[in-house]
Amino acid sequence: MPNKKNIERFSTAANAVGAVVASLTDAAEAATYISEHVAGAIILPPSSSLERLGLANELAKHDSELIQDEFRTKAAQASAGVTGANFAIAETGSVVLESTPEATRLASTLPEKHFVLLDPSKIIDDGDDAVPLLRRFHQEQPRNFLAYLTGPSRTADIERVLTIGVHGPRELHILLLDGLSDDPLEN
């Protein structure tokens, strides 16, 4: 069950670092939200939760151009990436995305916008609570690439002025969707 307090804490922390958090009800709403925010091509890497949701079909209804193969060659031209999330951390407003498949990494690093669909029941309290989950990943996967994503890419390297979107996404949208997935090991 989603923990209301955790959702609030998560949203506050995520907003504080410039992420957008929106609560949606179903795939159609998610597709509408995404297509309203994106003009160009969207990378949609394989994701068990998003496949169950049927997000690709919904996005297709909006005539969105989807990239679902040959990621390496097409990713640099994409305007947005859409991924699920394994879990999230309320304390810092971070989403955790297992990114071992290269396509997931490309979708979350190269485009200017990144949309993450998260089941709010997978929001845990804090960074310490993430450790047992990290350990489970390591036990089940001999090799992996795990990412905590907290807000958009940022820098303060010129005169310490905070500037958003230097190399990674300039926008991070976190779409909360009940019933998406209850397994922190999948995204």
Partner: protein, 713 residues
């Protein structure tokens, strides 16, 4: 003067002539302190740093075990691990690999270890182009400079300079607008990731339990560098090892807060092993860099420095760094930790100048997230360099022949009192000195040596205590004894009123700190012995002090100097237990009743002396006493920032830096509009009184004990 020293002094002059740099670093220091406090508001910083220290200590105690564990796990995950014994070894491995794979372009994310070994130069020499992709590092690369800060490499540069550099890259005039410049960097560097055949990163942690690496970043370039190119080389200092994922989580919780005041950085990236890359798997090489780290681990006195998690906070809060920046106060690594790492990674000769640039204020120790006593290690290195290179014939002679011989030292001071008459003209302040000494009084008047030292006045100071609660021995220290004897009279007056009898052991001598700070530990040990004997002779209940630097000598240094000496170790510990600063003694032990002091209605601001607040942990006590005695206490900004005295620091080693630090303090005092500035250190008093006198200020400069004496009914 050595060429090295000359160049160093030129760098200082250049930095001091760049007020814009100082202004930027001062503002940064203030913003950092505020942001850091906010970030840790709901966290127990002490508990976090204790946990980090414990995790890193495990590695220090069992280095080979954890190194083996990491290598085994990383190798099992498909990484090739190479243990590089020094910079050449690491550079050779990486350039050979690049040449074998036909690499033309390398996309690099930020790595201090690569700066440490000058990897870019090695790559360029081998015909390979390194492209720095971290914004700050790219700016530095374009400018042909080195970073002046571990976390913010280009903090010394301004947007106009960045615009000029970027304009050369794009071939058109780029406006000096920061958001635009960041855009330019994004566009210019993007193709680099896609074209690069190799990505090079550092790592913030190497986790023994998993054989994985963790990277703590904000820009997202490290994620691109480790994803797009087919080969990933991670260059990792062996000090980055942590035993478990829990330890890594603790560092992640602490590092961003202590580095930039962020709750967490935008990206935490955990990479374990060779992950997919296109249709193949990535070629992952982990180069574990020793380069002096094993030697550092073996140094009992310095090894704690390997606990460093490279947050840069020690520089952010450092008054010296704020005054001259990292191109002066550092080699590759900068600030307090930089001094230590330079000595071990780049050689003692590279650290010789900067090891003396530390003013010893311990601001760094207070914020270090790994609980490293940076100041003590720096002092130790100064001793080592003193032994290697000598401390200068003049100083050496004074310390060995004069300081160690109390009778001679004190008779010379007495003679000085008479000899100074032509310049003091009978006053208590020296405002000008003739000829080549004149620079000493250009920005600060100096106090005259008193006509009679406290030790000679003592027998005539009346003491009336019918039933003493305690008998305490007063350790005056040289300044209180020979320059400010009236402070001692005031101490007697106040303590007598509180039913305490005070003795003055005549055999007490200099605490040895001037010798120690100059690197003459032998003299310091001899003085420790003399003072332990002198102060314990009459078995006092307590030993009270008016100088916090002396307090630290009695409480800390003597114990350290004499710990291996079976005759003296226990005595030194006994003296340490009995020693207490006078404000702490009155406030915590005597606990004067309300009404002990009269009411004075002077507006007073309080300056925290470095060694009292961050050495003895005393800062509330004097404030409480000042308030209790009716003073209107107004806090100044940066009350606990160093005044720039630092003993010989402000006289001989770095007077120009000391002067700037003093100016900051005088400005903060002025802002309060207080009529009096109080403190608990005769050294700070000398500095502030001298500085205020030179500016014609009417603000009184007083030791807390003097104000208490004034307010006695």
């Amino acid at each position: 003067m050595k060429q090295r020293t000359r160049e160093y002094k030129q760098r200082i002059d250049q930095a001091l002539a760049t007020p814009k740099l100082q202004e930027a670093l001062h503002k940064f220091g203030d913003a950092f302190v505020a942001a850091r406090a906010k970030a840790f508001a709901d966290y127990d910083f002490e508990a976090l740093r204790t946990a980090i220290a414990a995790a890193k200590n495990k590695i220090l105690e069992n280095r080979q075990h954890y190194l083996d564990q990491f290598i085994e796990n990383a190798t099992a995950a498909g990484a090739t691990v190479f243990l590089a014994k020094d910079a050449d070894d690491a550079n050779r491995y990486i350039t050979d690999l690049a040449q074998q794979r036909g690499v033309k372009l390398v996309a690099k994310s930020k790595s201090m270890a690569s700066e440490e070994i000058h990897l870019n130069q090695a790559l360029e020499k081998a015909g390979i182009k390194p492209l720095e992709t971290d914004l700050g590092e790219w700016i530095i690369q374009l400018a042909g400079q080195r970073p002046s800060h571990m976390v913010m490499p280009a903090i010394h540069m301004f947007k106009e300079e960045v615009a000029d550099l970027f304009s050369k890259v794009t071939g058109k005039t780029e406006p000096s607008e920061i958001e635009h410049l960041v855009r330019v960097a994004r566009e210019q560097l993007r193709q680099g990731y896609l074209d690069a055949d190799m990505g090079i990163s550092g790592a913030n942690m190497a986790i023994a339990e998993t054989g994985g690496l963790a990277l703590v970043t904000n820009e997202g370039n490290a994620r691109l560098c480790t994803t797009l190119p087919k080969i990933h080389v991670a260059l990792v200092g062996t000090e980055k090892l942590v035993p478990t994922l829990e330890d890594a989580a603790t560092i992640i919780k602490t590092l961003p807060k202590n580095a930039t005041g962020q709750a967490i950085t935008s990206y935490i990236t955990w990479i374990r092993g060779a992950v997919p890359c296109g249709d193949e798997e990535k070629e992952l090489h982990i180069v574990l860099l020793d380069n002096g780290r094993s030697a550092l681990a073996k140094s009992e006195r310095c090894k704690d420095a390997l606990r460093c998690i490279k947050c840069g906070a020690c520089a952010n809060v450092c008054p010296v760094y704020q005054t001259v920046g990292g191109h002066v106060f550092g080699h590759v690594y900068i600030g307090a930790i930089g001094i230590i790492l330079t000595a071990f990674f780049h050689g003692l000769d590279k650290a010789t100048e900067i090891v003396r640039a530390c003013i010893g204020c311990r601001a760094c120790v207070e914020v270090c997230p790994s609980g490293i006593d940076l100041e003590s290690i720096i002092l130790h290195l100064r001793e080592t360099i003193g032994e290697e290179e000598g401390i200068g014939t003049g100083k050496s002679l004074v310390f060995r022949k004069v300081l160690r011989n109390r009778a001679l030292f004190h008779s010379l001071l007495r003679a000085a009192s008479k000899l100074q008459k032509p310049v003091t003209r009978g006053e208590r302040t020296i405002r000008h000195l003739p000829l080549f000494f004149s620079s000493l009084t250009e920005w600060r008047s100096l106090p005259a040596v008193a006509e009679k030292p406290l030790r000679d006045l003592w027998k005539d100071i009346p003491q009336q205590v019918e039933k003493p609660r305690y008998t305490v021995a007063f350790y005056a220290g040289c300044l209180n004894d020979f320059v400010y004897p009236e402070m001692g009279e005031d101490l007697v007056k106040v303590l007598n009123r509180l039913d305490v009898k005070v003795t003055f052991p005549q055999k007490q001598n200099c605490c040895g700190v001037p010798a120690l700070y100059s690197g003459d530990s032998e003299t310091a040990v001899e003085l420790a012995r003399q003072n332990v004997a002198a102060m314990l002779e009459d078995a006092p209940d307590y030993v009270v002090t008016t100088c916090p630097t002396c307090t630290m000598a009695l409480q800390r240094d003597f114990v350290e100097h004499l710990k291996d000496n079976p005759v003296w170790a226990a005595k030194a510990e006994l003296l340490a237990e009995k020693t207490i600063d006078v404000a702490g003694f009155i406030s915590n032990v005597l606990q004067p009743e309300e009404g002990t002091f009269g009411k004075v209605t002077e507006k007073v601001t309080y300056h925290d002396s470095c060694h009292l607040k961050r050495g003895a942990g005393v800062w509330q006590e004097p404030r409480q006493l000042l308030t209790q005695s009716g003073h209107e206490l107004v806090e100044m900004e940066h009350a606990d920032r160093c005044c720039g005295f630092g003993g010989s620091y402000s006289f001989s080693s770095h007077p120009d830096i000391a002067r700037r630090i003093l100016e900051d303090k005088l400005n903060d005092i002025k802002q309060t509009e207080a009529a009096c500035v109080a403190m608990d250190c005769p050294g700070c008093l000398l500095q502030l009184a001298g500085g205020l006198d030179k500016t014609g200020s009417k603000v009184r400069v007083k030791h807390t004990i003097e104000l208490l004496a004034e307010s006695l009914k």
